[in-house]
């Protein structure tokens, strides 16, 4: 159930992990496509929040190459649709998310990522 819209917002929250903690890298991924009702206006409003480069890199690592390398100045409807597909319809069901900074692995099982930290990793 991890959609890329959420993944694009998620950074590592281990103590003192402030460098390279975003985006988390996917591995051993089991991908499921679930159609979702289109809401292009929401996507359009969400654009400024997105980290485009991280999104495109992640989408490519998951085998989706519909997005352009750089963020277009103004989105056409087709581009918004492609973006909707990537953000809202691609669900990662199984796999791991690894922080490139500290190497912490967040396992995803049954669509639920385990974000629990060990006690020594909790920030103060």
């Amino acid at each position: 159930m991890v959609r890329l819209i959420t993944h694009n917002m998620l950074a590592c929250h281990v103590k003192n992990c402030t460098k390279d903690n975003f985006p988390l890298a996917f591995s051993d991924v089991e991908l499921v496509i679930r159609p979702a009702p289109e809401n292009l206006e929401f996507i359009n409003r969400f654009l400024p929040k997105l980290d485009w480069k991280a999104l495109v890199d992640t989408a490519r690592s998951l085998g989706d190459t519909t997005l352009p390398e750089t963020m277009p100045e103004s989105m056409t409807e087709d581009q918004l649709r492609a973006l909707h597909h990537v953000l809202m319809e691609m669900h990662v069901e199984e796999g791991n998310m690894t922080c490139r900074g500290c190497g912490h692995v967040y396992p995803i099982s049954n669509g639920i990522p385990n974000m629990l930290l060990a006690e020594h990793e909790v920030g103060r």
């Binding site: 159930m1 991890v2 959609r3 819209i5 959420t6 917002m9 998620l10 950074a11 590592c12 929250h13 903690n21 975003f22 979702a36 809401n39 206006e41 929401f42 409003r45 969400f46 929040k49 980290d51 809202m88 049954n110 669509g111 639920i112 990522p113 385990n114 974000m115 629990l116 930290l117 006690e119 909790v122 920030g123 103060r124």
Partner: protein, 293 residues
């Protein structure tokens, strides 16, 4: 009534049986949805717009369902795996996370348009292991939440405090993290319907009004924590003013009354009360004794 917080940690209390019971119980369901509705009202998201909302302690997604109906995109997190499993079975739309909110969130700054939480944050006040320190966990929770909310936005928490100290602890932790806002107490005079909402704000906003049940002016009750604090401040100001007015004499109220006046006043008071054996007044009353040495 027993409080689940006092029985066991949340991830254990909401095990498989309790999680199913919780979700199947129609009474809990209706109360939960009422509270969610009210929380959404307090959240005051812009109408007819899809928002990105965080549901803290989403459990089996009872409140998430309402968010779905409103058309919002949401992310939920909970510490009880069994509850999340039930949420999966119910096929809610939001993304679910297994997360301990006392460990903080890892979301990027400005991610969410709002956050709601129904009957959750009182759990943060428990220390379930020897490494847990409630103030620290509260601080971590509120600071990370503050940073992942958009400016301006709101976070609404419905919670069941067991004492005023708990309320105090939670509100001060939230204020330290930079939140504005305060408590909204719905139906303050009813034992059953009384509900507490902590309405926190990022950026400058006004605290919403509470529901009274009857049309009475219970304004003081509305934000009673805030009001109490305000009164304390008022009292302290008055005290300070008094002490500065009386100058260096120290104690207030005794500045322009001499010994004789004071004694006469006391005698009058005793007589008025009907005390026996109050000495009669004479020219010797309150006169200073001769110094013999």
């Amino acid at each position: 009534m027993s409080r689940p917080e006092e029985i066991s940690p949340p991830e254990i209390f909401y095990g498989d049986t309790e999680a199913h019971k919780y979700t199947a119980n129609t009474r809990i369901k209706s109360i939960q949805s009422q509270m969610t509705q009210r929380a959404l009202e307090l959240l005051a998201l812009p109408e007819d717009e899809t928002a990105f909302v965080l549901d803290i302690g989403c459990g089996s997604g009872l409140s998430g369902e309402l968010l779905d109906e409103e058309g919002h995109v949401w992310v939920g997190c909970d510490i009880a795996p069994s509850m999340l499993e039930v949420a999966l079975e119910r096929e809610v739309e939001g993304d679910l996370f297994l997360q301990d909110i006392g460990q903080g969130f890892g979301f990027r700054p400005g991610t969410f348009d709002g956050a709601i939480s129904i009957s959750v944050i009182q759990w943060l006040l428990n220390a379930d292991s020897n490494t847990h320190s409630p103030p620290q966990r509260l601080a971590r929770f509120f600071t990370t939440l503050h940073s992942c909310l958009r400016n301006p936005s709101r976070a609404v928490f419905q919670f069941y405090p067991s004492s005023d100290d708990q309320v105090q602890m939670i509100t001060t932790a939230a204020q330290r993290a930079g939140f504005g806002g305060g408590l909204v107490v719905d139906y303050p005079n009813s034992k059953k319907a009384r509900k507490m909402y902590l309405c926190l704000m990022v950026g400058q906003q006004e605290v919403p009004k509470a529901l009274d049940g009857e049309e009475m002016d219970l304004d003081e009750e509305n934000s009673y924590g805030l009001e109490k604090r305000r009164e304390e401040i008022r009292n302290e100001r008055r005290r300070r003013k008094d002490s500065s007015a009386s100058g260096k004499k120290g104690k207030k109220g005794k500045k322009d009354i001499n010994a004789k006046e004071w004694i006469m006043k006391k005698k009058d008071l005793y007589r008025a009360r009907g005390k026996e054996g109050v000495p009669t007044d004479s020219k010797y009353t309150a006169r200073k004794r001769k110094v013999y040495f």
